[in-house]
Symmetry: C2
Subunit: 280 residues, 2 copies
């Protein structure tokens, strides 16, 4: 028993935040973590990682994630939640899963679908290149003392799109939606699919950059494609990833956001997309 | 009765392909259409549009689609299918839906989730520009006589990435994954969310362009964000859309694909992403 308590104390806050306990076949119990609290609920990246975690730890899971879509239906309230996981279909080399996060008093807060696959080595081609930006060591981390909890669980080193441009009122002309940021867990944690899932959601709202000010936003749906296997992620260790984020359109209260996550050695680890509600 | 038959005869093949009949609350029946047949099943764009249709025609649907993700779990067999639709959550201005397409003998063939919203006019900004390409009238449509049925339901006018570069064997060096194509329903059909959904899946496999040859592929998951309301789509009429498609990475048997759909007047109607299995 002593070992369990001790291991729990030593665990990274991220691992505590996404921890799940098997209740019955296909049902897991979890609890929100104040360590990753955002404005009105947990940081969406941790909710997404917890949903992915429910499949990763499922006894019938085969292979590694290729695609996951998370729909944020309502804020997750502080406290206990349940995740129902359903194996929709298992083929020879692919698996499809469906997940649902609910809370007893507020109903369904998030749904998700995921495709897993047994990856195999094939003809391979990178049709783009990692952008050239200053090394993370040469960039100062964003000061985040006193900011929301989830922000303090990451280190952000901006090469482009630094939020120091933000002010209290919107700018007269739209700014660029583009940013390039080295980002890593804080404290450091060896990269895996779960932390990569959360890192895909760490890019700040594009509307902040374009309007030059903070505005109420909320991710409605996020889809991530993973482009490498578990070994490639492990090889990254706890080194920062380059998050390249952009948006194309802001219209009728919704905006897209596209993020590419690069390992320092030039491997494209994940591409992630989300549609974000904004009030402007 | 005569009117019904007559209307059915006059309907566009796309409307016949996505037609659904309400069986009981939340369950619709449909049938695959040979008019949109692909290699081993119906054209995925029509399957996606049929899943979207199940929400569009649902009596409790409110607003218009903002996001939809379709997971292709297995080929849809020729014949009858059922779509189960579930209203996951309805908020003040957004709705979340979950859909599932199944066949009695083969189980679940596709799952989907969708977010709908009551759009409202807000501050609006296009952070990119429509690419300048030759007008569709100046480009010859791709000859498609004798090709797969679904290809004959569309007209493709290539400004870039013309498939005439394809040959029987892979090219020595990887080609560009980029293409720009004017595409429209054939015969013409006024644009709506359903036909736009299908048009998002009409871009040819990026691996064909990059390898310079046809290879076995299959979409695993596709996510589309709609950026305009119903009136903006109706304003397009049956004019061709510009589909700008690209890919970033081909690795361990999977590739991404990104498609932007532009109206001729410069409005960005939809951005669509998919992860595609390939055998190369």
């Amino acid at each position: 028993m002593t070992e369990t308590v001790s291991a729990d104390r030593l665990a990274h806050p991220f691992d505590r935040a996404i921890a799940l306990h098997l209740m019955e076949d296909g049902v897991f119990a979890g609890r929100t973590s104040d360590d990753y609290w955002n404005f009105t609920g947990p940081f969406g990246g941790v909710t997404a990682a917890t949903l992915l975690q429910s499949v990763m730890t499922h006894p019938r899971r085969a292979g590694t994630p290729v695609a996951i879509t998370v729909n944020f239906c309502a804020p997750v309230a502080r406290g206990d939640f349940r995740i129902g996981v359903r194996e929709v279909r298992s083929n020879r080399s692919t698996q499809h899963w469906s997940m649902e996060l609910s809370q007893s008093d507020t109903g369904i807060a998030a749904t998700a679908t995921a495709a897993f696959a047994q990856r195999r080595e094939t003809w391979s081609h990178l049709a783009t290149r990692m952008p050239q930006v200053p090394a993370p060591e040469t960039l100062a981390p964003l000061p985040l003392q006193g900011m929301m909890a989830w922000l303090q669980r990451y280190e952000f080193r901006f090469a482009n799109g630094h939020p120091h441009r933000l002010s209290a009122t919107p700018s007269a002309e739209p700014g660029s939606a583009f940013s390039q940021v080295w980002v890593n867990d804080k404290p450091g944690r060896p990269l895996d699919f779960l932390s990569l899932m959360a890192l895909c959601d760490t890019s700040f709202g594009r509307i902040f950059l374009v309007r030059g000010t903070m505005l109420p936003i909320g991710t409605v749906s996020m889809t991530t494609y993973f482009h490498v296997g578990a070994d490639d992620l492990a090889a990254n260790g706890d080194a920062p990833l380059l998050a390249v984020a952009d948006a194309k359109i802001f219209n009728t209260g919704y905006s897209d956001q596209v993020v590419d996550l690069w390992a320092r050695d030039g491997r494209l680890l994940a591409t992630s997309h989300q549609i974000v509600y904004f009030r402007a």
